[in-house]
Every structure is written in structure tokens, then in C-alpha cells.
């Protein structure tokens, strides 16, 4: 026997089962987390905090020795240049230390766990079985228990997804699931039982709908299983079925069979544009881009999750909408993100925030961080957006996320055939996001955070990025025939939609799980993130699995499409659902909802004497939350990644001016581009949702026109966010807004290609329910023939002429000027689409011909804000006169002319040599030269009375415009 054959036990020192490793920045390093925390504590009115420390904690379990721990701590977890670590004991705290440790709740996914485990395994250490992270805050100072609780509650954690770690926390492994067939007794249920079942089961179905389900199962003579009932509830949810907007409505005596089809969708049908490739059908609307490629666009909301957990809600909102273009046709490559938010007033006193609602500043910061982290990590530029503020969004913020994808034309369709395998790819399935689809139809209350916490999820953008990378590869190799994303309703919705025409058999036990213990119905409706479903021909299975494996993407066959037209679900060969696709998709009972609308009486005149000097008013309007600079938000988004953005959100020599539409050049070797914009103004909706909708469309199209886009190839998206439309007056407003969509878009010849609605945006505070203002977001996407001809809104050269384009009316209702002066009522801005189209077409032509140096659309704050923004973005002053500005004859006041928010207006900059040709192109359009760009830093406006009414330094105006966010975020310089 030789020595080497003898089994020598390897001597291992100090075998361990558990260790805690703490990591923090060295004291001489500036730690932005610590500094940020100190500032935020001051915001809470707690002034006794002397210092704070932030410690990252890793808890490892398994079978390892002290050598392993040394290596893990010092070579992997700690940056030895800037950090230090402590193990197995925690860092010693100094005197008067208050320690708070925060960890994720069991079942909430922590992306860091997976990547850290990978790093440890890469290093050759195999004995770690589990890893958890937590965040430890050490706060120094004379603080009462109450203060610490306040800091913890308001700043350090959100109980929806996290908890405060008590000493020596033991994580219990989850129990495995033992199969049990569950039937829900519905055959013998009376109406009261049905109601209770709907509420307790979080199905959120109406009694009529529950009765329809009972009738169906009575007909087939058996009770539904839990899976069957969940499937029907999910498919019939407002979120998935849009039963209000797609339903029958009796409005002021007029009957709609299907509101959406008779308004928004009718525009598209009537216009019948050849470049509309797929509308209202797929996950996103598709239009033609160039001879080889199509582009698709989708915008949707993620409001209720963002209200409860702003970071996770917004993250999964953008993550979800990115999957829409990924799942459109046979998949497109996401190239642009856009985001629009509506928040409460971010500097509101804490006492104004209702119980159960998070403070608007916290919501804002969380939402922005979520969108930032997910969008940036996906490598998709966020180039356009908007933010609105209103007190009524406090309990129910709105988070709209949008994404544009590009695809070779041949991949614009999909087809599922019987026999195709159902392949689930991407993230694993967990208990996260259960009942998201049904929950979105519920009213938010102060109890929502405890009842619906499973409806909130944390995303993992890197998982989605891997899925995207490999899917595009598999698509180009034509390895699958159809694809869709797992969004609301999870597999139930994805497989249900894909198999609607065929039928599907699914083996739920095959689904890869994050942890054990999930019941079959939970697997079926879980909305765990980053998952896509594919239809794959059996002969292509090996190849597609190889593609996924090559980049560490998990995929598994979970069933196959059949020709039974039935949905059959199995769990280990037990049948857990067996229903006809027809009951799921067509069984929803049709009811007629009642809608009414009565115009509100508005006082017309301005109850304010016209001030002699309007500099102060301009300054005030510039520093309103709605108008002020959003640079603090915009800078946190990567707008350069992919190298395609050729008109960025921040413009001018100092890159801080506000841009109109964004322009993106998606193909390096072509000068064709995409213009993208958003129009939204909830202020007008309070007066009349019809004109709010019309104004939103006009605003979106104005922005595209202002950058040199051409309305000939522009498509629209609608996103309606309303209060409870079971109330006839709320529904009446929704009908009016829909009618405006038809009336206005039809004349502009801009078809709608996709849309979404989110109803029931209300916050219940016990006795009082606060509804959001009716809100319609219109997003526009246009194809630009040559990006080199597009222009920006910052003034370019001294001596150039400034023109006002478009006519001003006495339309001060909902204006920022009224808001800052606390004036109620007024006439809301209207749109004359025939005249407006003529104006925009002429301006487009002038820009295309190179006659315009810069252009900016007038929106919130009217001509005054429009001019101020152009000047301080460009860095030059101007002297202008209001005399002769095209206006309604009744306008006699300069403040009205400056601050009315009439639609279809622009200010443009023309070189003196182009004066004639510009005026010729604009013949028949109301335009007027108002003055010149000057080599001063002054904005000087002469009023209708020939007297100077504004004399302001543009840098002062800019400072005031930037002030609100700087102050809010403590970044005053």
C-alpha cells in the first residue's frame, strides 16, 4: 500500500455551522449612506442625533471552517481598501448607541443572496447552504425610545417586506407541501356566502360575477377546485379584463356597448393607417419603423404596489412593462424607458399624511430609486418622463412606466400550435405577488399594508437582463413560436392567454420554486417577477435549453398546448383544474353601468387685480412642484446607455434645461429616429375630463412637433387612472375623457395602438374616502426620418428672432397661475384640433426645412414659463413685447396672456435671414414676432400697456426653478 492510497482525513480547523460577518466603511471614508441618514433624521424633527453608522450584515449557514470564513470575509465581502469587517462577533458599538437591524421578511426575495452565494462558490468554497443579509444601523445621541421607533418606522424599513431583527433570530425552514385536493363549496352557497367568499378569498369579484361562477358549476354538477376559482377570478379581474371600459355603459341617456371599442379603439379603426402593424392585441402596440424593423410601445401603471412599498412597487412596475415589448410578437429588444409619476405634496407636514399612507417624499424617493435601479441595471435608457403633484395622490400615488422595443419585421407575430411545449423561463416562482391582479381592483385603506403584503414584490433586474439577452439569441435562431410575459395573474394569465384558442395541460409540480411549501393554486397565480412563457416545438427544445444554460438562465418545460380547448392543471398527476377555456374567457356576465356628467358652473373672470409687475408671479410659478426642475430625478436615470439618445431630457450648455420630446436613434448606421413624449394634466380634469383628455393629446403631440417630429407617423397610448367608477359621476368623467380621445385623435389622424386603465384609485381613511383626480396620461411615439434635422428648446444665438405660434384664449382654469394665487374656477383650456393640426403641420415643415433654431411648447405656466425655460436653458436673455401676440379679442390683461395655458402654442427662435421663409411657411397660422434673443442675462417683457411687466435675471429664475427639489433633498448650494 502506498502512502497516497491511504485516506488521510483533511484536518479542518474550527468547523462551523453558522457565522455572522459585519462590514462597514472605514471611519476616514465619507459614507454617503450615513450622511444621508443623518439629514433624513433631521427631516423628522429629531435634532439630537450626533452620528450614525451603517453596517452590512451577512449571516451564513452550512458546513465550513474558520479558513473559509476568513476568505469569505476578507476577500469577497469586504473591500479592504475602504472597509473593515468583524466576525464572528459584531463590531463594538461606542457609548450611547442605539442599534436597529433590518432584514427582509421570509419569502421576500433578496437578490444579493444569490449573487453572493455565486461569488463564494466561484472561490471554491462549497459548504455554504444559505446566506441572508441584513442592514444594521447604529445611531448615536440622546434619543428616546419613541425617537428610535420613529426613525425606524419612517426611514429604515417597511413592514410590508421587512422586519426589525430581534436578538438571535432563528429562521425556520418552510414546511414542504403535501398534496390535498381542495374544492370550494359554491354549489350550496347563498348570496351572502358568495360575497364573503369573494372578500375573504381576496377574489374581489362582484356578486353578479360570483353568481355566474355558481351557475356554471351548477350546470356541470360539481364544485370548483381552488385552482379553478382562482383562475376565473384572476382572468375576470378588472386588471386583466378591463370590464368597465370594455363593458356596457349608459351615459346621460346614450348607450355604449363597449366604451373602449366605440371611442379610443374606433380612432384606430376609422383611420386604418397602413403603418399600424398590431394594435390592442399583443402585449404592446406595434408600428412600422423602417423597411426592416418595427417598434412597439407599452405604458402601464403599478399604483397600488407602489403605494405600499414604493421601491419594490416601482421596480416591478418598470420590470413588468419591459417584459411587455420582450413578449410582443416573438420578442423585441427594449430600447427606451419612460416614466410618469403622480405624487402627493413632497414637503407636506407629517401631520397631513393619513394613517396607513407613507409620506409623499418617501414615496417619491422610493419610486425614483426603484425605477432607477431596475431601468439602469437593465441597460435601457430612460429619456423622457413627467411628474405631477396633488394632495389627493398622497394615499394613492400613480406610477406609470413605459417601454419601447425594436424588432425585425418578421418577428412581429406569434403562433401557438397544439403539441408545442410550454416552457417557463427566468425567475423562480415564490409566494410573492399573489393576488396582485385582483388586489389592484381593491380600494386602498390603512389596513392594506397588512392584508395585501403578499401582493408586493421585490425585483431582480439582473435576472431579467439575463432572460432578455438569451431570449433575443433564441429568437434570432427561431427556436420558439410564441412568447408572452408573466405579469398580473402569473402563469394563469400567461398560459391562459396563449392557450385560449388551443387548450393547455400544465404540470404545476414541474415549476421551479424559490422555496418549498407552495400550494398548486399559489404556483398558478403567483406574480413572481422576471418570468416569461414560451411555446417551443419539441424538436427545438434541446437547442433552446442550451442557449439558456450557456448564460445561467433557468428554464423548464411545465406542460404543453393541446387541442382540447380546455385548461387542465395537474399536480403530481392529480387533476387540480379542468375547465373550458370558454368559461374563463367569455363567461364574464355583462352588466350595464350607469354614468352621468353635469358640467360644473365656473366663474369666468379672474378675481384678482392685475399686478403691475409679474416678475414675482413668474418666479412663484417656476417654483411650483408641477413646473420646477426635476433634474434631481432625471440625473439618476441613465439616459445614454445603448448610445442612441440624440435629444436628451436635459439640454442647453449646462445640460440642465427642460427638454420636450426625446429623440432616439436606435440603429447606429441609420439616421432614422424615434420621438417620444407624454401629455398629462390632472388639474384640468377637475373642471372637465373631456378637455383634460384633449389637452393631454395636444400636449403630447406639441412636444413631438417642437422637436421636429412629423404628425404623419405618430401613434398614441392611453392610460386612464380614475377613482371608483362604480360611482356614476366618476364613470361619467371617464366616458367624457374617452369621447375626447376619439374626437381629437381622429382629427389629428393619430391612432391609438395600446392602452391600459387603472380604476378604483381611492384611499379610504375610515369615514372619508379620497379619490385621485381623474388622470389621463397620453403617450406619443413618432418616427423621425432624419434625426439630424431635429431641434431642441434652448435658445441658441444672440440676435435671433422669437415668435409666438398659436392663439391664446382666456383659459385660466386649472392653470398654475391660478394655483399660486389661490384662485378657483376659470375656463379650462380647449382644443380646436382642425386649427391645431394646421399649426403643427406648418411648424413641422418649417423645422424640417431647417428654418427654426429652437422651439418649445407652451404648457403649464403658459408663454411666460415657456420663454423663461428657453432662455435659462440657452443662457441668453431676451426683450419681448406682448403687443400683437395672437389672442382672443377679449384678452385685455397681460397676466392672462402670459399665464393662460391654452393649447397648441409654441415659442420658436428664427435666425434673421430665415424670417421671410419662416413667415411664408407659416402663412395662415397665427404667429407673431415678439422680440429678440439678447446678449444679456435679462428676461424683459413689455405688457399690453407698453410698460415693462417682467424684468428678471435668467439665472435667478433658474435658481428658483431648481430650488424646490434642492431644498427637499438638502442639496442647496
Amino acid at each position: 500500500m502506498t502512502v497516497s492510497d491511504k485516506a488521510i482525513p483533511i484536518k479542518r480547523k474550527n468547523i462551523m455551522k453558522y457565522v455572522r460577518i459585519e462590514v462597514k466603511d472605514r471611519e476616514n471614508i465619507f459614507d454617503a449612506v450615513r450622511e444621508g441618514l443623518k439629514k433624513n433624521v433631521l427631516d423628522l424633527g429629531i435634532k439630537t442625533v450626533k452620528d450614525a453608522e451603517y453596517i452590512q450584515v451577512y449571516s451564513l449557514r452550512g458546513d465550513f471552517d474558520s479558513g473559509d470564513v476568513q476568505k469569505i470575509a476578507k476577500e469577497i465581502l469586504t473591500d479592504m481598501v475602504s472597509q473593515e469587517c468583524s466576525f464572528p462577533k459584531p463590531f463594538k458599538a461606542k457609548k450611547k448607541a442605539h442599534v436597529v437591524e433590518i432584514a427582509y421578511n421570509p419569502g421576500v426575495m433578496d437578490p444579493v443572496e444569490h449573487s453572493t452565494m455565486k461569488a463564494i462558490e466561484d472561490s471554491g468554497i462549497k459548504g455554504i447552504s444559505s446566506l441572508r443579509t441584513s442592514k444594521k444601523y447604529v445611531i448615536y445621541g440622546n434619543l428616546k425610545k419613541k425617537d428610535i421607533e420613529k426613525i425606524t418606522d419612517k426611514l429604515l424599513y417597511n413592514k410590508v417586506i421587512q422586519h426589525v431583527v430581534k436578538t438571535s433570530e432563528e429562521i425556520k425552514p418552510l414546511e414542504p407541501y403535501n398534496f390535498e385536493r381542495v374544492e370550494v363549496n359554491i354549489l350550496n352557497a347563498n348570496d351572502k356566502d358568495l360575497k364573503r367568499l369573494s372578500i375573504e378569498g381576496q377574489l374581489y369579484l362582484s356578486l353578479v360575477e360570483m353568481k355566474a361562477i355558481r351557475e356554471h358549476f351548477r350546470r356541470i354538477g360539481r364544485n370548483p377546485t381552488d385552482c379553478e376559482l382562482e383562475t376565473i377570478a384572476q382572468t375576470w379581474s378588472e386588471h386583466c379584463k378591463h370590464k368597465t371600459m370594455m363593458g356596457a355603459i349608459n351615459y346621460n341617456g346614450k348607450h355604449f356597448k363597449n366604451l373602449l371599442k366605440e371611442t379610443v379603439m374606433k380612432v384606430t379603426r376609422d383611420l386604418n393607417r397602413s403603418w399600424c402593424i398590431s394594435v390592442f392585441k399583443d402585449n404592446a402596440g406595434i408600428i412600422e419603423f423602417d423597411s426592416k424593423n418595427n417598434i412597439c410601445f407599452k405604458v402601464e401603471t403599478h399604483n397600488h404596489p407602489s403605494a405600499l412599498e414604493p421601491y419594490g412597487g416601482a421596480e416591478t412596475g418598470i420590470g413588468g412593462v419591459i417584459r411587455d415589448p420582450m413578449g410582443t410578437g416573438r420578442g423585441s429588444k427594449p430600447i427606451i424607458n419612460t416614466d410618469v409619476f403622480c405624487f402627493g405634496i413632497p414637503d407636506a407636514p407629517i401631520s397631513k399624511v393619513p394613517r396607513g399612507a407613507l409620506h409623499p417624499k418617501r414615496v417619491l424617493k422610493g419610486v425614483v430609486s426603484g425605477v432607477r435601479d431596475y431601468g439602469n441595471k437593465m441597460g435601457i435608457p430612460t429619456v423622457n418622463g413627467s411628474v405631477c403633484f396633488d394632495e389627493r395622490y398622497t394615499g394613492n400615488p400613480l406610477v406609470f412606466c413605459g417601454n419601447v422595443g425594436i424588432m425585425p419585421k418578421k418577428f412581429s407575430t406569434k403562433k401557438v400550435s397544439p403539441g408545442d411545449l410550454i416552457v417557463a423561463v427566468g425567475g423562480r416562482t415564490g409566494r410573492d405577488g399573489i393576488h396582485g391582479a385582483t388586489f389592484s381592483s381593491a380600494e386602498l385603506t390603512h389596513e392594506s399594508e397588512s392584508i395585501s403584503s403578499t401582493a408586493v414584490q421585490i425585483g431582480n433586474p439582473i435576472t431579467e437582463k439575463k432572460v432578455m439577452d438569451t431570449l433575443l439569441k433564441a429568437r434570432d435562431l427561431e427556436l420558439y413560436d410564441a412568447i408572452t410575459d408573466c405579469g398580473a395573474g402569473g402563469f394563469s394569465s400567461a398560459v391562459g392567454e396563449m392557450g385560449e384558442e388551443t387548450g393547455a395541460d400544465v404540470n404545476l409540480e414541474k415549476v421551479l420554486l424559490k422555496y418549498q411549501g407552495l400550494k398548486p393554486w399559489e404556483i398558478w397565480v403567483s406574480e413572481a417577477q422576471e418570468r416569461m412563457v414560451l411555446a417551443v416545438k419539441p424538436k427545438k427544445l434541446k437547442k433552446i435549453m442550451d442557449v439558456f444554460r450557456s448564460e445561467n438562465v433557468e428554464a423548464v418545460v411545465i406542460g404543453k398546448f393541446t387541442k382540447t380547448k380546455k385548461l387542465r392543471l395537474y399536480y403530481d398527476k392529480n387533476v387540480v383544474a379542468d375547465i373550458d377555456m370558454s368559461i374563463i374567457h367569455d363567461g364574464l356576465p355583462k352588466i350595464t353601468r350607469k354614468a352621468v356628467w353635469k358640467p360644473k358652473k365656473q366663474n369666468k373672470g379672474i378675481q384678482r387685480r392685475e399686478p403691475k409687475n409679474l416678475t414675482k408671479d413668474l418666479t412663484k410659478v417656476l417654483s411650483t412642484w408641477n413646473v420646477c426642475s426635476k433634474e434631481w430625478i432625471i440625473r439618476q436615470y441613465d439616459h445614454e446607455v445603448q448610445g442612441g439618445s440624440v435629444l436628451k431630457p436635459l439640454i442647453g450648455p449646462e445640460n440642465d434645461g427642460p427638454s420636450d420630446a426625446s429623440v432616439t436613434r436606435p440603429i447606429f448606421t441609420s439616421n432614422k429616429g424615434i420621438a417620444l413624449s407624454n401629455g398629462i394634466n390632472p388639474n384640468y380634469g377637475d373642471i372637465d375630463p373631456y378637455w383634460m383628455a384633449a389637452s393631454a393629446i395636444d400636449e403630447a403631440l406639441r412636444q413631438i412637433t417642437a422637436v421636429g417630429g412629423d404628425l404623419d407617423k405618430v401613434a398614441l397610448l392611453d392610460n386612464f387612472c380614475w377613482g371608483n367608477t362604480e360611482k356614476p359621476t366618476q364613470l361619467g368623467g371617464l366616458v367624457r375623457a374617452s369621447q375626447a380621445c376619439y374626437d381629437i385623435a381622429k382629427v389629428y389622424k393619430t391612432p391609438f395602438i395600446s392602452g391600459k386603465d387603472s380604476l378604483n384609485n381611492e384611499f379610504n381613511m375610515g369615514k372619508k374616502t379620497v379619490s385621485i383626480p381623474p388622470t389621463l396620461l397620453i403617450s406619443a411615439i413618432g418616427v423621425v426620418d432624419d434625426v439630424r434635422k431635429t431641434i431642441s428648446s434652448d435658445v441658441k444665438e444672440v440676435g435671433n428672432l422669437l415668435y409666438v405660434v398659436g392663439k391664446t384664449f382666456d383659459e385660466m382654469g386649472g392653470s398654475q397661475y391660478f394655483a399660486v394665487n389661490n384662485i378657483k374656477g376659470g375656463v379650462v383650456p380647449r382644443v380646436d384640433p382642425v386649427k391645431s393640426l394646421k399649426t403643427m403641420k406648418a411648424l413641422s415643415a418649417a423645422i424640417k426645412n431647417g428654418k427654426v433654431r429652437s422651439a418649445h411648447d407652451a404648457s403649464e405656466g403658459g408663454l411666460a414659463v415657456c420663454l423663461a425655460e428657453m432662455l435659462f436653458a440657452g443662457g441668453y436673455g431676451a426683450a419681448v413685447s406682448l403687443k400683437g401676440v395672437p389672442r382672443e379679442a377679449s384678452i385685455k390683461r397681460s397676466d392672462m396672456l402670459l399665464f393662460s395655458e391654452s393649447n397648441s402654442r409654441f415659442i420658436v427662435e428664427i435666425t434673421p435671414e430665415n424670417k421671410k421663409s419662416f413667415e411664408k411657411t407659416m402663412k395662415g397660422i397665427p404667429v407673431k414676432c415678439i422680440g429678440k434673443v439678447e446678449n444679456t442675462k435679462k428676461m424683459i417683457v413689455t405688457g399690453l400697456n407698453d410698460k415693462e411687466i417682467i424684468n428678471a435675471n435668467i439665472n435667478t429664475l433658474k435658481t428658483n426653478w431648481k430650488k424646490p427639489f434642492r431644498k427637499l433633498m438638502h442639496e442647496e448650494s
Binding site: D25, I29, F30, D31, A32, V33, E35, G36, E75, I76, L77, D79, M80, V81, S82, V112, S115, T116, K118, A119, D122, S123, G124, R372, N376, K377, M378, G379, N460, P461, I462, K465, K466, D469, S550, E551, N552, R635, Q636, Y637, D638, H639, E640, V641, Q642, G643, V646, K648, L650, I651, G652, P653, N655, R665, F668, V787, R788, I791, K796, S854
Partner: protein, 267 residues
């Protein structure tokens, strides 16, 4: 003439691979986009290339610390091949996340050209505490450095940054001194007029406003800003304000041209 081959390394979370590939192709290089798994499987691929580029992105989500997990993976799985590649005088460029990877595996600054990679610096969270996207002016010290990537660049160039962890911190004063003495500081953040930069011109609070460094041989370059995002004038944020003569190429392209030309002549 010889074709220069560039290997662009990808993994989960890489996201500037396409624009980096475009930049290299524009200056005449062949480009291979290779996933780390493929490289680990067939390690020979590396030696067949002249230039290794690690592009920007968020590899493995920036978890633990940006660049750390990929750096650890390269060291654990292809350490020998990396050494051989670097020792044979070939070129490496790490942009943004790629720079973080190079620093965290000790391939930069590689003071004194030691063959065993030591960690002598780091890139950590911006002083502003958040991700920021902004265009910055960089002073390139092309006279005093051996860096092959920056030859002939104008004194000040304009490129964007987009990162959360870009604050350059040398391990100690002597590391900083050596960096300067060796001419390894390639780019510094500066103002438009070339003056000393503070926030936001120095966007992250880097020590000595350092934006990019090279190894002592000048062949390995790492930088936080993105030259590949300014390879066409249309990417300049204010190209509409530029005079006609300035509307030609993006200044960032010169960096890639330098690398490819050097490889063509010397490798």
C-alpha cells in the same frame, strides 16, 4: 494588413457591450462578444485576441460591491490566462463597470508591474450617495503618461459618466504618489476651462479628481467615463450648438482608434 481582434467580455448584467462593440468596429477591429462562461469553457479564446475590453454595466447587480463578483470570478477561473494575456503585452480597457472589475481584481493600478495582482485602490459609492448621469470634462495628461490609449487626445475631452460607485480611492498616500510619479493618472475630472473640479464637475468625489488610470506599461486602461458613448457628434448633448467644423466625429472614438492602431503595429 493584419486584422485586430477585440474580445468584449460579457456576463449577467453587462449592458454597454453593443456600443463598445460599435466603437471598436468603427475603427476597424473585429469584435467577439464572449460570455464569461464561454471563456471559462474554452480559455484559449483569450490568447487569440489582441485587445480585451470589459464594458460598462452592472455585472451581478453590483451586489457586494460593483465589479467585485466578476473580478472574483476571473481570478478564480481564468487567472493564469489573464496573467499570460497581460504579460504578453496585449491591451486591456475597462470602462465604468469594467474599470471597477480591473481595480477590484488588482489588474489596476498594478504598481511596479508586479505579476501577482495586488489590490491597491478601490471605487466606491459617490459622495452624492446615488447613481448620476452627467457629461463631464476630462483633462487627459497624454504628455506625461505612457498610456497607449490616449495619445494625441486634446487636453480636454467631453464624455458622459453614468455610475453610482465611481469614487476613486487609493489604498494610501504612497499609492497615490506612485500613481502620479509613474504617470499612471490618465484622466482627471476638470471644469470646462480646465480648472480644478469640485462637485458636480468631479461627479463622485474621487481623490485628486481621478477619473481614469493605466498600469505602468500604459497598455491597461481603466476609466469611469464612457468614451464609447461619444463616438458620433449626434451623441454630444449640445450638438445643435456646435459649429459645423465640430460636427464630425465624437471625441471618444480616438481612444479606441489609439488602441487598435497600437495593436496593429505592435501585436
Amino acid at each position: 494588413m493584419k486584422k485586430v481582434k477585440t474580445l468584449i467580455l460579457r456576463t449577467a448584467g453587462t449592458n454597454c457591450d453593443q456600443e463598445t462593440a460599435h466603437a471598436f468596429r468603427q475603427v476597424g477591429s473585429e469584435v467577439d462578444l464572449v460570455h464569461i462562461n464561454a471563456l471559462v469553457k474554452d480559455k484559449k479564446i483569450l490568447s487569440k485576441c489582441h485587445i480585451l475590453a470589459i464594458p460598462g454595466g452592472f455585472t451581478y447587480g453590483d451586489d457586494i460591491a460593483s465589479g467585485k463578483i466578476l473580478a472574483n470570478e476571473i481570478k478564480s477561473k481564468i487567472n493564469k490566462e489573464m496573467h499570460a494575456f497581460v504579460n504578453s503585452g496585449k491591451l486591456v480597457i475597462g470602462i465604468c463597470n469594467g474599470f471597477q472589475v480591473l481595480v477590484k481584481m488588482g489588474l489596476l493600478p498594478k504598481l511596479g508591474g508586479k505579476s501577482d495582482f495586488q489590490i491597491e485602490a478601490t471605487l466606491s459609492l459617490n459622495d452624492s450617495g446615488k447613481f448620476e448621469d452627467r457629461w463631464v470634462h476630462l483633462k487627459s495628461d497624454s504628455k506625461n503618461t505612457k498610456c497607449v490609449w490616449t495619445k494625441g487626445l486634446p487636453e480636454i475631452i467631453y464624455v458622459p459618466i453614468a455610475h453610482a460607485e465611481g469614487k476613486f480611492i487609493p489604498k494610501n498616500r504612497s499609492v497615490l504618489k506612485s500613481l502620479k510619479d509613474n504617470g499612471q493618472v490618465v484622466f482627471r475630472y476638470t471644469t470646462q476651462d480646465g480648472l480644478e473640479a469640485s462637485y458636480p464637475e468631479n461627479p463622485n468625489g474621487s481623490t485628486d479628481a481621478i477619473a481614469g488610470i493605466c498600469d505602468p506599461s500604459g497598455r491597461i486602461l481603466g476609466l469611469m467615463p464612457h468614451p464609447e458613448r461619444h463616438v458620433s457628434f449626434l451623441q454630444h448633448p449640445n450638438w445643435r450648438r456646435l459649429s459645423r467644423t465640430d460636427k464630425r466625429l465624437g471625441i471618444g472614438l480616438k481612444v479606441f482608434k489609439n488602441g487598435v492602431n497600437f495593436a496593429k503595429k505592435n501585436l
